[in-house]
Amino acid sequence: MEVMLSVLVGVLVAAAVYLMLARNVLRFLFGLILISNAANLTIFTSGRVTEAAPPLIPEGAEAPVGLVANALPQALVLTAIVIGFGLFAFALVLAFRAYDALGTLDSDEMRVAEPVEDTK
């Protein structure tokens, strides 16, 4: 199953990189969401995947019974999802503010910090 997920992550990363290289900041944000998803899947896959039971300990038992999924990457991914959301939301607000201030979403036209004449 890792093979399937690896290929899927590759597809997501490729799409994300292409979007992030676009001039429109919104497309960059789309790419950001995709690449967060891909990263989460990567962490998840690296813990090995099986169609096993969730990592829960049944009543009366001291440890999980039978085969259960790897709990460690799940914990990592769970926080990563929330953090990724925080990052995305902040980036969205930034883009929103940039549009408000500069009147464009085209990153090529956002030259306040590095004006064109500076580079000559």
Partner: protein
């Protein structure tokens, strides 16, 4: 968004979502759930409310500014960690109190871990609402 159905359903839905979020928070230690999920569900409830009735209404329903909720949550989380120090343990070592415990039953478990999870719940809820409300108000 002035759908009457949405408006009517929202109040019920929001109440349900909030109760559900607390339920998810409390049961999280033994079954799927926990502070992150609970906080997200609670936030979703308020976001739906804000979409239906406007952020002004949602803010009133929340009563406290969401950024304060997040900060209080962070404080509670920190307190849960510091609590261990009162019992002579290292930072963030879980402290447990079993009310009505017997030989076979553990009774009602209360712990600093639960306190910490409540902190997580509040931070997630408050942060998301801070963002969403600000964005919606800013976009108007």
């Amino acid at each position: 968004m002035n759908s009457i159905i949405l408006l009517a359903g929202t109040r019920l839905l929001v109440a349900l979502l909030l109760v559900f979020s607390v339920f998810m928070l409390l049961r999280g230690h033994n079954t799927p759930g926990g502070g992150f999920i609970g906080g997200l569900i609670g936030a979703t409830g308020f976001v739906v409310y804000a979409i239906a009735c406007g952020t002004e209404q949602a803010r009133q329903a929340l009563r406290v500014p969401p950024e304060n909720v997040a900060m209080v949550g962070l404080g509670i989380g920190l307190f849960a960690g510091v609590m261990a120090a009162f019992f002579g343990d290292a930072f963030f070592v879980g402290q447990w109190l079993f009310i009505g415990a017997t030989e076979t039953e553990k009774g009602l478990p209360l712990s600093s871990v639960l306190v910490f999870d409540i902190g997580v719940y509040l931070v997630v809820l408050g942060s998301i609402l801070t963002l969403t409300f600000a964005l919606e108000e800013g976009a108007d």
